[in-house]
């Protein structure tokens, strides 16, 4: 054994107006609960990390409202990442000073890729996560941006796998690959796309989109060798309780924190 580093289970909390919401394929958001209540529950249940995604921040052209970041930092004792609307080193600094462990950028990185280098210089790779929203289009995977509001969603012109290589080269400390064809469908992670990304990058890769059952998590760790798996709905509605999921992963021989 050369390392006992655990594979991570990461609930994602989409935040809008201070509440946790969830839609299917980025539309029709439903309120799922209070931020602090869900954050506390997941941390007590054994989640390894939390991601808070301010889904309205980027499309509305404002940065993340950071009051709730402080409230989250006060109550939870596991690492957490804040995403949504971080466009500059200063935006990132505010969120990190309030107690977030990492920041995740998506649309602003696509619009100005140098932002990745700037954030890495200022805070180190370990703080900088790049989120990629990817769809299957004309026989290839391409990235999309502005996914918080469907009418403003745009194709960005990057081939997903080229973009994975570029953000790795620019020093991203982690990549969350959100496969939008699978998002909210609960039909399983996009194993083929994640395998393709895995082969291109040695930075931690987090699978996102499509989790519907504990079996899907086993599958993605075994087949795509991802470092973590992110999901929202199946955790919010308790269809996949985290303690039971961890036990099943452990029984399947996947190293997780129990």
């Amino acid at each position: 054994m050369t390392t006992n580093l655990a594979r991570r289970i990461i609930p994602c909390l989409d935040v809008r107006d201070g509440q946790v919401v969830k839609g299917v394929q980025f539309r029709n958001h439903r309120v799922m609960g209070d931020i602090i209540e869900l954050a506390t529950r997941y941390s007590a249940e054994g989640a390894d990390e939390l991601v808070f995604y301010d889904i309205t921040a980027s499309p509305e052209g404002r940065s993340v409202d950071s009051d709730w970041v402080s409230r989250v930092a006060e109550v939870i004792d596991i690492p957490f990442c804040v995403a949504g609307g971080i466009r500059s080193v200063e935006d990132a600094r505010k969120v990190l000073q309030r107690g977030a462990d990492k920041i995740s950028i998506n649309t602003p990185a696509v619009q100005r890729p140098e932002l990745i280098d700037e954030l890495v210089m200022a805070f180190g790779s370990q703080c900088v996560v790049v989120g990629i929203d990817s769809v299957h289009h004309d026989g290839q995977w391409v990235t999309r941006q502005m996914t918080g509001i469907p009418d403003q969603m745009q194709q960005t012109g990057h081939k997903t796998l080229d973009w994975v290589t570029e953000v790795t080269r620019r020093g991203a400390g982690e990549i969350v690959l959100n496969c939008m064809g699978s998002d909210g469908t609960r039909a399983g992670f996009d194993i083929v796309q994640l395998q393709a990304a895995r082969n291109l990058t040695s930075v931690p890769l987090i699978a996102s989109g499509g989790a519907g059952s504990a079996g899907h998590f086993i599958e993605v760790f075994e087949q795509a060798d991802v470092d973590g798996a992110l999901a929202a709905t199946v955790f919010h509605n308790n269809k996949v309780p985290i303690p039971a999921l961890k036990q099943m992963l452990s029984a399947a021989g996947i190293g997780v924190r129990l």
Binding site: T2, N4, A6, D48, S70, P204, L258
Partner: protein, 209 residues
């Protein structure tokens, strides 16, 4: 009980403050040598580069102050690394040091080395990993045999006389260290759920000798 957290210049300090507040203490975040000397407990946190942090401690004239402390001191992450003699980390332009590596506080013998990446060993070492105790110590009271802690680092301390617990990421390295009144944790106890909270509570309960 008074608890001082040394302002060593890292941005991300609020999570340490919150973790200690959850344990019922109110820490003082300070660079004032008098407050640090008179505190019952001292925490040396640290995020970022060793050269930058040492330059800041020298600028604040805190190097001798820290070395002379007699109350329990806990270095966290980079703060633990600073307790050693040297780090092989490249000094940055602001550190005022030339040559290879960075001179640290020299309280615990040993030099920090960069973790070696391999196929299944990614660097930085980032995430949850287990430790194995090397001996008994009040700091480890009530922890399981292999507790889980949250790590984020690229440089690691050698295993030596002061190693209380080790972790393996490629090669084994010192995860928790102890010499006299000085303790250090390579991981972030403030972000390590119940095992991290237990370690911090043990630190607060150490006898002041």
């Amino acid at each position: 009980m008074t608890l001082a957290i040394i302002d060593s210049g890292g941005a991300n300090i609020s999570s340490v403050m919150h973790a200690l507040r959850r344990l019922g203490t109110e820490p003082v975040f300070t660079a004032d040598a008098a407050i640090i000397r008179n505190a019952d407990r001292v925490i040396l946190p640290g995020v970022g580069a060793a050269g930058t942090a040492m330059a800041r401690l020298r600028e604040l004239e805190l190097v001798a102050c820290i070395r002379e402390l007699r109350q329990p001191v806990l270095g966290i992450c980079l703060g633990m690394q600073l307790l050693f003699e040297r780090s092989e980390e490249e000094p940055d332009s602001q550190s005022g040091q030339s040559g290879s590596g960075v001179g640290c506080l020299g309280i615990i013998p040993g030099t920090l080395r960069k973790l070696e990446p391999a196929a299944d060993v990614r660097v930085p070492h980032m995430g949850w990993n287990t430790t194995t105790a090397a001996c008994q110590d009040p700091l480890l009271n009530g922890l399981p045999e292999h507790p889980w802690f949250y790590f984020v680092h690229s440089f690691a301390a050698p295993i030596g006389d002061g190693t209380l617990a080790s972790c393996t990421h490629g090669e084994p390295f010192a995860a928790i260290v102890h010499k006299e009144n000085f303790y250090g944790a390579q991981f972030h106890p403030e972000r390590s759920a119940r095992h991290g909270a237990k370690l911090l509570a043990n630190f607060l309960e150490l006898s002041c000798n």
